[in-house]
């Protein structure tokens, strides 16, 4: 095995391109389950995925919060970009407790510390 760690950027929210977000989270969880380290970065509209209490099942969309919970329980690292939160008026208290808030400038070292990255 050449690669051990994967960085996934999630750039879309729960709505509109829900399949992309759901697919990103499924892939993240499967990859964790198969023994690779996975870090998930929610950035741009992706930060909306981390909002507490959302229930998109009311409009027939999958619950990404369940997938995020699975991700954390499987040992994944969840990061949310502060600038993207601020641009959308979302406070830290409104996102799930397990998320760590980082700055854009923290992304470069993250890239250096992972073998691969995927963008959804």
């Amino acid at each position: 095995m050449k690669n051990h760690s994967l960085l996934i950027y999630c750039t879309h929210g729960t709505y509109g391109r829900d399949d992309d977000t759901y697919g990103a989270l499924l892939q993240a969880n499967h990859t964790l389950a198969w023994g690779m380290d996975v870090t998930l970065v929610l950035v741009e509209d992706g930060v909306l995925v981390s909002k507490k209490g959302q229930n998109p099942s009311k409009i027939g969309l999958p619950s990404n919060l369940n997938e995020l919970t699975d991700f954390i329980e499987l040992g994944g690292k969840l990061l949310v970009v502060s600038e993207s939160l601020e641009q959308r008026g979302i406070r830290k208290e409104e996102i799930i407790d397990e998320a760590e808030v980082i700055s854009f400038r923290d992304i470069v070292p993250l890239v250096e510390n992972h073998d691969l990255s995927l963008t959804f």
Binding site: M1, N3, D19, D20, H30, T31, M36, L116, F120
Partner: protein, 132 residues
């Protein structure tokens, strides 16, 4: 990018092959992602890479372009990939969601679980995402 069939038989290098995996998550005609992904795959093959293409989410729709068209057709690029023995795989779950089966997709494209992508990721030297 020159990617005609005739160009694919003379790899630029005799070095041991590196592995490139291309992840495509956009369907045809919504953007240039599919066209660029497939042309990149062909060019990489020409350069001596072992190339894997994984069609994920709406990227799976590209495999459904089985017919001829008198305009740009990403399905034609996909057929070229198959002819060049590039492994092209569809995500099984995404395919099921879109009613894509081995009967209604381009011949030679395989359907497999997402663990196939993990295998690709583990063993690749380079990974490119198109459509993210």
């Amino acid at each position: 990018m020159e990617t005609g069939d005739d160009d694919m038989n003379n790899p630029d290098t005799e070095k041991p092959s590196k592995v490139l995996t291309i992840l495509l998550i956009k369907g045809p005609y919504v953007s240039e992602a599919a066209d660029i992904a497939f042309q990149t795959a062909l060019k990489a093959k020409q350069m001596g890479y072992i190339v894997n293409v994984f069609l994920y989410l709406d990227g799976t729709w590209n495999s459904h372009l089985t017919g001829d068209k008198n305009y740009n057709n990403p399905g034609d690029w996909l057929k070229r990939l198959i002819r060049k023995e590039i492994q092209v795989t569809l995500c099984e779950r995404c395919s099921n969601a879109r009613d894509l089966t081995e009967e209604n997709i381009i011949k030679g494209v395989k359907i497999a679980g997402s663990t196939k992508l993990i295998d690709y990721l583990r063993d690749s030297d380079k990974v490119l995402t198109f459509g993210g």
